[in-house]
């Protein structure tokens, strides 16, 4: 649903049901990033699981901070009075810099982004949007697992969010180029009535902004960074399949906040969205397993977890526009398509380590375009004609191009300056020890060694007097 650019008219009154709902929804979306960390972490090799998890947590830190400083202002600073918009691409990053502007008389402003007289505090709207920015960046990390300097990743996270995510979020949800505003691409194609495009682009919760965006960024980054040592020749088995399943479960749970929360109100549509989200996800899991059973002979656990995520991705843009049966169809196709797409990297020779492309890009494209087929009001299969489908293809391709080109520029710039790769020795020994000074598992108890030469340990007090002083020098 595209927010209308309405200032808060009349005398706004807080909608407490919607506010309570948004507090819960934002918290659930936040939990998706640690869930993603487990989903990805379980699929890496044991020597690099901590680095994989830290890429997600690092995104939480960096993107969370810059979202407060300028992210919200760049994406949505134009929604309330006084904010300006630059050519439908970004809002003014300085208008609400540091967010002091969302407080009036010491209290948060109320905001009604859809212009439907459901007012919620702007603070929780910021919080909700912050969690989306974080997980979108974290999603990309799966494409470059096991081989990237942590410092370069953190810098990338900040630059990519600023240069790619905030503008695309503004374009789609902040009344910019890919929205249904009269200045958007859809209005230019099919005209507008009373300042609103005749054909409203469908991206309910982020098929373009989150999944196509992160998916194409993952592909570009995998190409810029290059393959892992031994890609395609040595076995890189997932180190812990149960935590992959746990991660998928947390993602599914959090995704209700993501999709239903995007309604910004605890109402009938939010409830339908919950149901459609589940319908598509269940069908996608079966779709993936069916492809696996036919192609590989077994229905696998990682296949089930991946099918779940593919279904959630596909239904994300479409969840507000489909019927439950339409959602089943969209999901089943998404699961099957993604299961076929994960093999592409071996044929085409790019090392998208954890299948960000196969899962997020392919299912995200399908969900966005599929909404043009299956929307009950405007979809091609429901007699709505081809115009919705055209608009859906346009916003999908526009996101692909914007994100793909800008990610390429950022990726190459970082390659030329900080460098992306850890050394080959570090990569083959395991990135956890060199980048983080830790190892994920200590199962034997045989590691040997003894406590205490680190800076946090006082060499005079923490150790028994009998310990040889000379040994630590």
């Amino acid at each position: 649903m595209t927010p209308a650019l309405l200032p808060a008219a009349d005398t706004p009154t807080i909608n407490e049901a919607a506010t309570a709902f948004m507090l819960v929804a934002a918290s659930m979306v936040l939990l998706m990033t640690p869930g993603l960390a487990l989903f990805y972490g379980g699929m890496t090799r044991a020597k690099s699981v901590l680095n994989m998890i830290m890429m997600s947590f690092g995104a939480l830190g960096v993107v969370g901070v810059i979202y407060i400083l300028w992210g919200y202002s760049m994406s949505f600073g134009n929604l309330q009075d006084g904010g300006s918009d630059l050519a439908g691409i970004i809002a003014n990053p300085f208008h609400l810099f540091g967010l002091s502007g969302i407080f009036e008389d010491g209290a948060t402003r109320l905001i009604d982004p859809f212009g439907v007289k459901v007012f919620i505090p702007e603070s929780i709207y910021v919080g909700f949007q912050l969690t989306f920015a974080v997980i979108t960046v974290a999603l990309i990390s799966g494409a470059v697992a096991d081989r990237v300097k942590f410092s370069t990743w953190l810098v990338f996270a900040g630059i990519w969010a600023t240069v790619v995510y905030f503008p695309i979020a503004h374009m789609v949800w902040g009344g910019g180029l890919l929205s249904g505003s009269e200045n958007g691409l859809s209005a230019k194609l099919f005209g507008a009535t009373d300042g609103v495009a005749n054909v409203l682009p469908i991206d309910f919760a982020g098929g373009t902004v989150v999944h196509i965006n992160a998916g194409i960024a993952g592909l570009v980054l995998a190409l810029v960074v290059g393959k892992r040592l031994g890609f395609g020749t040595t076995a890189m088995r997932p180190q812990n399949v149960p935590i992959v399943m746990l991660g998928a479960g947390l993602l599914w749970f959090g995704w209700f906040g993501f999709n239903a929360g995007s309604e910004l109100a605890a109402d009938g549509l939010a409830s339908t969205v919950w149901l459609n989200t589940t319908a598509a996800t269940c069908a996608a899991m079966l779709g993936w397993l069916l492809v696996e059973k036919i192609r590989d002979g077994h229905a696998t656990s990682i296949g089930a977890a991946s099918g779940v995520v593919a279904g959630l991705v596909a239904i994300t843009p479409a969840c507000g526009a489909l019927s439950p049966v339409g959602s089943l169809i969209l999901g089943a196709v998404a699961g099957g398509l993604a299961a076929l797409a994960v093999g592409l990297k071996y044929r085409l020779g790019y090392d998208d380590s954890l299948d960000v492309v196969g899962v997020h890009l392919v299912a995200g494209l399908w969900g966005t375009v599929g909404a043009g087929l299956l929307s009950t009001s405007t979809g091609l299969f429901y007699g709505g004609g081809p115009r919705q489908l055209v608009v859906q293809v346009v916003i999908a391709v526009a996101s692909l191009l914007v994100s793909g080109i800008l990610t390429l520029v950022i990726g190459l710039a970082l390659k030329a300056t900080m460098g992306w790769r850890v050394s080959e020795d570090v990569e083959s020994d395991g990135i956890d020890q060199s980048e983080h000074g830790e190892s994920a598992y200590e199962l034997s108890g045989f590691a040997g060694g003894r406590f205490g030469t680190g800076s946090a340990v006082s060499t005079h007090s923490a150790r028994p007097a009998k310990t040889t002083e000379g040994a630590s020098a």
């Binding site: 088995r237 696996e292 590989d296 002979g297 696998t300 990682i302 299961a339 994960v342 093999g343």
Partner: protein, 112 residues
């Protein structure tokens, strides 16, 4: 004295241990091991990519025995570990020069 070493299937361990106990063996050492023989490994598929797993999980069981018990102990292990299917493992016996019980310092058969 002899050291009897057996590489067996992990799920046969309990049966072997009980058989050794009823024969009268009072101690043994067990460790996790990986390997392959004629059985070879197996393949696993993750997201469509097939991996050949060459080393399959096994248990290594070691028992120190008096010379005259060595043959019977190997037999006891053989009977308990055998399933008749491929991958049942191997048993071998080697001579041992000396054995020392750490607690008391006893040597030789006294330390068994």
């Amino acid at each position: 004295m002899k050291l009897v070493t057996a590489i067996i299937k992990p799920h046969q361990l309990d049966e072997v241990k009980e058989a050794l106990e009823s024969y009268g063996i009072s101690g043994m050492t067990v460790s996790e091991a990986s390997g392959y023989g004629r059985q070879r490994g197996h393949s696993e598929v993750y997201r469509g990519a097939e991996y050949q797993v060459d080393f399959v999980p096994k248990v290594r069981l070691e028992v120190l025995v008096d010379d005259m018990d060595a043959g019977s102990v190997a037999d006891v292990i053989l009977k308990a570990a055998q399933t008749g299917r491929i991958g049942d493992g191997k048993i071998w016996t080697v001579p041992v020069d000396d054995v020392i019980r750490v607690r008391t310092g006893e040597h030789g058969t006294d330390a068994l």
